[in-house]
Symmetry: none
Subunit: 206 residues, 4 copies
DNA sequence: GATGAATGAGAATTCATTCAT
DNA sequence: TATGAATGAATTCTCATTCAT
């Protein structure tokens, strides 16, 4: 699908128009970093983008539409993860590969925390567009991870489902605003990553 | 903490009052099954409960308050999970105990899906009351699970963190409105449970 | 159909509510006497009724809804016309009956000019609800008039259609804000009535 | 008055400019065939004409201006009606002439239904420009018709007013989107024409 | 204990209109 | 000649909230 080329008034967008559209998206994301999801409003976004309310409606139908555009854009940028999963994983390099996998995963979440949270929030509530987006961006990932598990630990009966579980664990933890379990700190987040890496490694080679 | 005994006007609640208060809570939960979280409003709840708008304010200050009451009520009912975790887990009965644990966990989510989703949603966004509620109801659980892991598989460096990861995986998957990964069915949900059980079991005994 | 008994919030309306609802209707009609139909807005109506905008929406969904209610109310009040048409018309009293018919018709238009104009405006543009209302309130009238014509002047091939035409003529002229044909005056309106009466009489007895 | 030769920017219009201006007018008329008069907006028209919003303002000041131009254009095309009214009407050819008159009248309305409806709508609400346009295009017509009536049926006291009434009847019926009186069909419209013709004929010769 | 009634406040939405290109 | 782009201003519409009954 080509990037949108017309605004909601049917006008072809030039550089300026595309810039403005982008500004709206950025403003929405910026606001979500601090204020609550359900309080996000057209007015707030327009104001954060230093645009008039009316201008918002030149580019987007409503708040959900901006967010969808944001999430869609983020979805395009998961290439690095695939790189790790396309490399060969062996008993010997597994520990290292797993570490790399977890690291990159965390970096992506760090970068796209807001977008991914929105995606999951809506998907979990049954919003189909977001659900599909999640399914599409996740499927291949999960298959590759599942295959790794199956290959390295052929005894497992449900490698594919374990892949899903691992993914859910990583996503769930990454989503948390503050880990908080015990008054969490960055240190804790680092330890959690280590724990997850150990978990995956254990599942692969034991 | 005892169940609320007075409404917001300071009146002692009789049976009728308690019933009405309950109806408001049930209406909120009912609405969350179908419509989106951010659309939930006082008017909608009152209307679903077949009460006048004004009546809502006799019992609750605002929507968040109702939801908090719901989540709190759900939190009281996790006793069964503790029962499993308080039993002895040995290499011999581990498979069975794990299965039981996963089953009960799923049942609880089935029963309190809406409440738990709300709790996590708010907690993930940094809402302190819900975050604390989650921490409180989760802490002991996670410790017990972590201890089991540490005891049965002493080689692991991060048993506590693995417990957190497992819990996140189970919670994440249970939260999803429809699993959907590959056009999911109930069957898939069952398989996922099996996968998780296998995963835990593997971590414990291998 | 019973008069509305609940407002749009589902509340049973008491005297006060019914009064307020009426005030909204009256305000709308009042405004239509002076300002243009297409400029009639919710804000204007609410303000004319000395109510807040929000109150408007307690009783009506939008402007069309108020107008429909007005038109419907006016439709109930055409009894007098039927009285004339139910009397016996003979060659001897025809001139007098026709005169009475035209007079009452004009009085009704004088009283309900706004409502009837709105009705016709919307009906002419294909708005079904208003079209149906017009058909219902007109049908019996036209039949009775047609029968009179057919009975008194049996030679006519299309008495029913002529009744329709007469009705259209009267309605069309009554609707005009100012007769204006030749820079019209009240005098002219009176003469027009006389002309129409003569026309009907001629058709009946010649 | 000569056809407009300059646009609102003062530029002389070439073929292309005249075409665009026409497209705006056609778009407005097209929209009025289906959507409601009061919803007609600059944006809608521009969009229907596949022109940018800004282009509209090159040719017209506002929506009323376009409509006025349309109505004015239609008014130029009533020549045929005059032809019939300028012919000699005698007791012998009256039936035939009346039939021709009604037919041509209907054809014109068929062709210019939208324009004439707009004209009457505005005129009925007291819009002076449209009122004058109506008076101008109608006066001669009505005089001629009145004279015919007076000459052929000298007994009538109000021939001029009867002419006005006849004209109102024809206009009123022609304006209706759907006759609808009894779930109307084209057949019914035809019968109505026959009725009107009979009515006029009766008035002339009886 | 419950609710008709009303509304302030603010958010969503639309539109006509301008201007630089 | 045409149009992207932007917006002020008005309007629609919704909601939480209060209060008298």
């Amino acid at each position: 699908m080509p990037p949108e080329t017309r605004n909601l008034l049917g006008q072809k967008m030039g550089r300026k128009g595309r810039d403005t559209r982008k500004r709206v998206m950025d403003a929405a994301l910026e606001l979500l970093k601090t204020s609550s999801y359900k309080d996000l409003s057209v007015s707030e976004i327009a104001s954060e983008a230093e645009l008039s309310n009316a201008t918002f409606y030149v580019y987007f139908k409503d708040v959900e539409e901006v967010l969808y555009a944001c999430v869609e854009a983020a979805a395009l940028d998961l290439g690095e993860l695939h790189a790790v999963l396309d490399a060969e994983w062996t008993r010997d390099n597994a520990r290292e590969q797993v570490k790399k996998f977890v690291e990159i995963y965390n970096e992506l979440w760090e970068k796209y925390r807001v977008e991914l949270r929105v995606r999951n929030l809506e998907a979990d509530q049954g919003n189909l567009r977001f659900l599909n987006l999640r399914i599409e961006t996740t499927r291949t990932l999960l298959q590759k991870l599942g295959n790794k598990i199956a290959k390295l630990n052929p005894e497992l009966e449900y490698p594919q489902q374990i892949a899903v579980a691992i993914h859910a664990a990583m996503g769930g933890l990454a989503a948390q605003h503050d880990i908080g379990i015990t008054g969490a700190t960055r240190q804790t987040r680092k330890k959690l990553s280590a724990g997850i890496a150990e978990m995956i490694y254990t599942l692969l080679v034991k």
